[in-house]
């Protein structure tokens, strides 16, 4: 029998720590304790996936969650996602504004040009804008030529900064997908934090050839896209899971004396529909009622963490 090539059992990156140089391993108990304003136990960030899904988006190498799953021209998929940008996001804005809570929008940059009225309303609601690529049809992956990926990052950054100024410093790669170059290109474009690697509850530093990025937590496991759209779970399973996560993190904060972060990833075309928005409101009220919560943007949390982790 021929078997596999000899080097199949060769492990060049087998060593203590990570099998790459982007960041070192860090076990949760070794994370530097942090404190939040007013001694809050939980920094709460509502992260809103504001993706735009072109009807002619490529279906390879994979379809981003929410992408065109039905034959072209899928009015079904296109218009349901667009509903989120017309109506769903306004319901979310109303819910958060009346509670005095901010949010961080993970925004397809193309929306800054497409929907200027919406951009004005986001600015008025004081949502933080983080750039989530150009749109959901321009995914970052290893099949994209470097020059093309660089142009995409630069164009996306220019679009959001043209509307919201240079204070835009957060990045999210659409659909949590990246090439080996993405982080470097993002740092090169002047972003200071990124979010989308699903490996920690605590921020950490990523090192690229173009500089450092703070990697902020963003769960996919605990997101409405996964639980409601991909797993088809009932709304209450998602809101209950968020509340359970809050309880766990709250207890950890109490036990360790270190603040914890809860990022709640939500999507206008999912949580912003009429039959879900009340469950979302009730979830927010339950979290705030627990007390010791600091509602913040991802950038604010990154700043506080960075000030206490200068190295």
């Amino acid at each position: 029998m021929k078997g596999l090539p000899e080097d199949y059992l060769y492990y060049p990156a087998r060593r203590r720590g990570m099998d790459h140089e982007i960041y070192p391993f860090r076990a949760l108990p070794k994370a530097q304790p942090v404190t939040w304003p007013n001694g809050a136990r939980i920094a709460l960030c509502i992260a809103v996936h504001m993706g735009h899904f072109p009807m002619d988006m490529p279906l390879k190498p994979f379809i981003a969650p929410g992408g065109m799953e039905r034959p072209y021209p899928s009015y079904w998929d296109y218009t349901l996602r667009d509903y989120g940008s017309r109506i769903g996001v306004y319901r979310l804005m109303n819910s958060l504004t009346v509670r005095g809570m901010p949010a961080t929008a993970l925004l397809s940059a193309i929306l800054a040009r497409r929907y200027p009225a919406l951009m004005d309303d986001l600015a008025e609601a004081r949502w933080e804008i983080a750039c989530a690529g150009l749109d959901m049809g321009r995914l970052h992956h290893s099949g994209v030529p470097l020059d093309q990926e660089r142009a995409t990052v630069q164009e996306a950054a220019a679009l959001v900064r043209a509307r919201f100024g240079t204070s835009v410093r957060g990045w999210h790669s659409p659909a949590h997908s990246e090439s080996s170059d993405t982080l470097r290109l993002v740092a090169e474009a002047g972003f200071s934090f990124t979010t989308g690697w699903a490996n920690d509850d605590v921020p950490y530093v990523m090192v690229t050839d173009a500089g450092r990025l703070i990697c902020m937590p963003l769960s996919q496991d605990l997101s409405d896209q996964r639980m409601l759209h991909q797993q088809h779970l009932p709304t209450e399973d998602f809101t209950k899971a968020i509340l359970t996560a809050h309880q766990t993190l709250d207890r950890e904060a109490e036990a360790t004396g270190s603040g914890r972060i809860l990022v709640v990833p939500i999507t206008p075309w999912l949580m912003g529909v009429p039959h879900r928005i009340r469950a979302f409101n009730a979830m927010l009220d339950s979290m705030m009622a627990r007390g010791s919560v600091w509602p913040a943007t991802m950038g604010q949390i990154a700043d506080h963490w960075r000030a206490q982790n200068p190295n």
């Binding site: 009015y75 009225a117 009429p274």
Partner: protein, 303 residues
């Protein structure tokens, strides 16, 4: 390929011109039973196979056939009529030929018939304009012959519309389309000639996605419908909203589910500011009272 349908403008869910419904209602509530026929031996379509199993797909076929033999008769005359809720039928028009009994009963109940194409197994994907036009015209004639009704509304089978379908609908005198799911209110639709509006259909409150794709038990189905109603009823105090409840008799008319429909309808009709409307009535009211204002607001840049 088009990057977007291009049939509607952006309208933020704020600052819109106020919509009012008849008698001070906050919400226009309409029920759209999809009365369908899926053929036993349909031709293939390059973009979508009608059945998942080799034809004849006996299980798929007979499950849907249940709707016409049993489900309709249970949900329509019994449950809906009891609550005074009329249907606006999303009709596979060949049902007029296959099961005239059903059409007759719909007419007795004063239900609206609109077209959901000829068969649910004949998609619009890939049809040329002449072919699409021929289907629309034939559907109009058949509905007129079978019921005396005009054809005002349209939902392409399986929402399989092609790039030009909405233009053809407008040119053929269709007044409202349901192929777009971008809003909770009627909206103007841009077409190359003629006039067309969109009124809200739903894939959120729809027994196919909820019961089949999302595995929802009947009690939760009812709870979701009520939650949808509660929110749109509340928002309707500011500006009138639309809630559509699309149904499929082969699903909601099953004995273990029909009580969920009864429950939802009892809840809805128990509110006083509800307009129990048909699609045609909503389209006519909006076109007469609110369309021009919406168009002006859009032209002014949604200030």
């Amino acid at each position: 390929m088009l990057s977007e349908p291009g049939h509607y403008d952006y309208m933020p869910w704020r600052r819109r011109p106020r919509i009012t419904w008849p008698n001070g209602a906050r919400i226009a509530f309409w029920v759209a039973p999809n009365i369908e026929h899926y053929e036993l031996d349909p031709p293939p379509n390059a973009r979508r196979m009608p059945w998942t199993r080799p034809q004849p797909d006996v299980l798929g076929y007979s499950w849907r056939d249940y709707g016409n033999r049993v489900g309709f008769w249970r949900m329509a005359p019994d449950v809906m009529a009891r609550h005074g809720v009329r249907g606006s039928v999303s009709l596979n028009v060949a049902v007029c030929d296959h099961y005239p009994e059903i059409i007759e009963r719909c007419c007795e109940l004063d239900w609206e018939l609109f077209s959901h194409g000829t068969y649910n197994t004949r998609y619009f994907y890939g049809m040329n304009e002449d072919q699409q036009r021929a289907v629309i015209r034939e559907n109009r004639e058949t509905i007129k012959r079978a019921s005396g009704q005009e054809l005002d509304g349209w939902l392409t089978p399986a929402i399989s519309n092609d790039e030009t379908t909405q233009h053809l609908l407008a040119e053929e005198g269709i007044k409202y389309t349901l192929d777009m799911l971008h809003d909770d209110q009627p909206t103007p639709i841009k077409v190359r000639s003629g006039h067309l509006i969109s009124i809200p259909y739903s894939l959120e409150i729809n027994d196919v996605p909820l019961l089949i794709m999302r595995n929802t038990p009947p009690e939760r189905f009812a709870a979701i419908c009520k939650a949808q109603f509660d929110q749109l009823y509340e928002e309707g105090a500011e500006s009138g909203t639309v809630m559509c409840m699309p149904l499929h008799p082969f699903l909601i008319g099953q004995p273990h589910r029909v009580s969920a429909l009864d429950d939802v309808l009892r809840y809805v009709v128990g509110h006083d500011k509800v307009w129990l409307a048909t699609g045609r009535e909503i389209a006519a009211w909006y076109t007469e009272h609110h369309l021009a204002e919406a168009q002006s607001w859009i032209a002014a840049g949604t200030p």
